[in-house]
């Protein structure tokens, strides 16, 4: 997997003066709202998310299920799929399924996987990164070095490896705790993205740790855990949200790539990546361009919008 956009430049952003995190938030929101480009991205993200959430409803309105077959839509002789029409907005695929409805469900899969994985990676990254920055010393060295190694791994191959050994039987991995399917893809994504968050959080914690209110909290007898999660964590939220936003499009692309290669989500789950792979079957895309175009454009739209929002947020916190 490739580094989420701009994570390499991780200069610690200026932390708000001891006034507290709320003003920093307000400032961020104000700057973000002034950025028309970023706002357009946000509107697009919300629109696509709403469409994904409403996918079953829209499917019902269209009257076609995601896995429903419409053999009448395949040409009589060769059984080739037919293109966009008044009833099938995006045409049908080689099995005669409604591509429009499948795209919506694919978008749903993309969003569920990428958001879940980003949430898990953030939870791990924040905890581990904060521990590294707060305690310093050998804990920091150990965590940072481990994160460095993870960042240098050829992620796609490791993902393919895990996915292939864990999908070999329905029992999954580690005595059944890791099952093939969406959960496995989420786990793989989280496993390889937490170091990005951990790195940012560590750097930020190093700065915040030195501030007076942290000393004050310690002086009042707050435990290490309380100091970290009550005093320091609120000062990291803005940064964490920015980098979480940048990880999401990355996750979407990675899931799509895995499914395109045939090692992602299972056959029965609609996935934009797998739909594009279907279009390459026997170079079908040269004829049925719609099978390639619509899932791809949808992928591009969602990742582009997320990237714009992430960029805008990063500018807004002055990173």
């Amino acid at each position: 997997m490739t580094a989420p956009v701009g994570l390499a430049a991780s200069a610690p952003a200026p932390v708000a003066e001891p006034i507290g995190s709320r003003t920093q938030w307000q400032q961020m929101v104000r700057r973000f709202r002034a950025d028309r480009f970023a706002m357009a991205g946000l509107v697009m993200v919300i629109f696509l998310a709403a469409v994904a959430v409403c996918a079953p409803l829209i499917a019902k309105l269209a009257g076609h299920g995601p896995n429903e077959l419409f053999p009448g839509q395949l040409s009589a002789g060769l059984g080739l799929p037919t293109g966009p029409s008044g009833r099938f907005y995006f045409g049908v695929d080689s099995d005669g399924r409604d591509l429009f409805v499948r795209c919506l469900y694919g978008l749903r899969t993309s969003l569920i996987i990428s958001l879940l994985a980003a949430a898990i990676a953030t939870a791990i990254g924040v905890t581990v990164g904060m521990a590294a920055g707060y305690f310093g010393g050998w804990i920091d060295t150990l965590i940072s070095r481990f994160a460095d190694i993870f960042l240098a791994l050829p992620v796609l191959l490791f993902a393919i490896s895990i996915s292939s050994v864990c999908s070999i039987s329905a029992r999954g991995c580690l005595a059944g705790t890791i099952q093939p399917g969406i959960g496995l893809v989420v786990l793989i994504l989280a496993l390889f993205t937490w170091p990005y968050i951990a790195r940012i959080v560590r750097g930020q914690t190093l700065v915040v740790r030195e501030q007076e209110f942290v000393n004050a909290a310690r002086g009042f007898g707050a435990s290490h855990l309380a100091t970290m999660f009550i005093e320091i964590l609120p000062n990291l939220t803005a940064q964490v949200i920015v980098y979480m936003t940048l990880i999401i499009p990355n996750n979407i692309l990675f899931e799509a790539a895995l499914s395109f290669l045939g090692v992602g989500v299972p056959q029965t789950t609609p996935s934009l990546g797998r739909m594009i792979a279907d279009a390459t079957n026997g170079s079908l895309f040269t004829y049925a361009w719609w099978m390639m175009l619509f899932p791809g454009v949808l992928l591009l739209l969602i990742t582009y919008s997320f990237n714009i929002v992430g960029d805008g947020l990063r500018d807004a916190i002055g990173g």
């Binding site: 390499a8 240098a152 796609l156 490791f158 864990c166 045939g262 895309f285 791809g296 714009i308």
Partner: protein, 322 residues
């Protein structure tokens, strides 16, 4: 300097141990079935599974299995060095299978790297110098487009447009120059190079822009301008030299990412390199081959990072490692 190199080499050993351990865990500890069943392929006879069990030393405790795994890798096995095992699906040693394909993969990666540096850096510099202009906005928008586009989809769109519709590009497949001539080979490599390069070109444009903008605000640039140097000279001799160093470290980090991109582009353009073969191996349950490619790629990236780190000290005298 030498102390740094020695320390870096020691760190490399630790890294290699961690990477091999990680790979070992994935293939020998995670799977719900015995690795022997996994490695022997789909239609394995009990006799074959017994042989694999013996060859891999699977009747030993796990930590000895790991040491044996390391030993085969470092000292080689009966199929040569490094010991990468045997593909029971292909009835051939994994080493020979990789050796026959690695050149195609390297050709793809190196060619793409040249293309993305040639596109990304100039665009980033122009964007930074013309900051806020319409060109800057367009360049940034396009860069973000390529960063956001799925590589495999971009490849298919390019194929559809330039090969199928316009007929100005060659189709898929690898055509060895020795057999088909340089021109045919080049013709078929051009689109894979460009598609693979575009994603990274987008990043490099963004990175270079940021880096040049930072450098433009430095005191030494003001001094150079104050001396009355021509703007072009300030840009090339002062700004570029200082701002391209961070790009070098990025190059090391990107190698890991490049492996992913290469796998996908090989699949899309039907280039029979190591990446395409790894994907085919997964689908054919040829686990020893997948293991070998993963391991070789990970080790290669770690070694390349070492080279980049040491080069970095040479080109950036401001950094002192001791």
């Amino acid at each position: 300097m030498w102390r740094y190199v020695v320390r870096r080499l020691l760190w490399l050993v630790v890294t290699l141990l961690v990477v091999t351990a990680l790979t070992f865990v994935i293939y020998f500890v995670l799977p719900p079935v015995s690795p022997a069943v996994l490695f022997a392929g789909k239609e394995a006879t009990p006799a074959l599974i017994a042989t694999v069990t013996r060859n891999l030393g699977l009747n030993h405790p796990v930590w000895i299995q790991y040491l044996l795994f390391l030993k085969r890798l470092v000292l080689g096995d009966s199929y040569g060095w490094p010991g990468l095992g045997f593909s029971y699906v292909n009835h051939s040693s994994v080493l020979s299978l990789i050796a026959g394909r690695i050149l195609i993969t390297l050709t793809l990666a190196v060619g793409a790297a040249i293309v993305w540096l040639a596109i990304g850096i100039p665009i980033g510099v122009i964007s930074a110098v013309r900051r806020g202009s319409i060109w800057d906005r367009i360049a940034l928008g396009i860069a973000l487009f390529f960063v956001s586009a799925p590589v495999f989809w971009l490849g298919l769109v390019f194929l559809w447009l330039f090969w199928y519709k316009l007929g100005i590009a060659a189709g898929t497949g690898y055509y060895p120059p020795g057999q088909y001539g340089i021109l045919t080979w080049l013709n078929h490599m051009l689109m894979p190079w460009i598609v693979l390069a575009l994603l990274y070109a987008g990043w490099y444009a963004r990175m270079t822009r940021g880096s040049v903008l930072d450098t433009l605000n430095q005191d030494f640039v003001r001094t150079a301008r104050g001396k009355g140097l021509a703007e072009s000279r300030v840009l090339v001799r002062h700004v570029l030299r200082a701002s391209l160093t961070p790009t070098l470290t990025m190059f090391g980090m990107d190698l890991a990412a490049l492996v992913s991109g290469t796998v996908i582009v090989e699949v899309v353009f039907n280039l029979n390199g190591v990446g395409q073969w790894a994907v085919q191996a997964v689908l054919a349950d040829d686990i020893p081959s997948v293991l070998a490619v993963t391991l070789v790629a990970a080790l290669a990236v770690m070694l390349a990072n070492l080279v980049v780190d040491i080069l970095y000290v040479y080109v950036n005298p401001r950094i002192r490692y001791d």
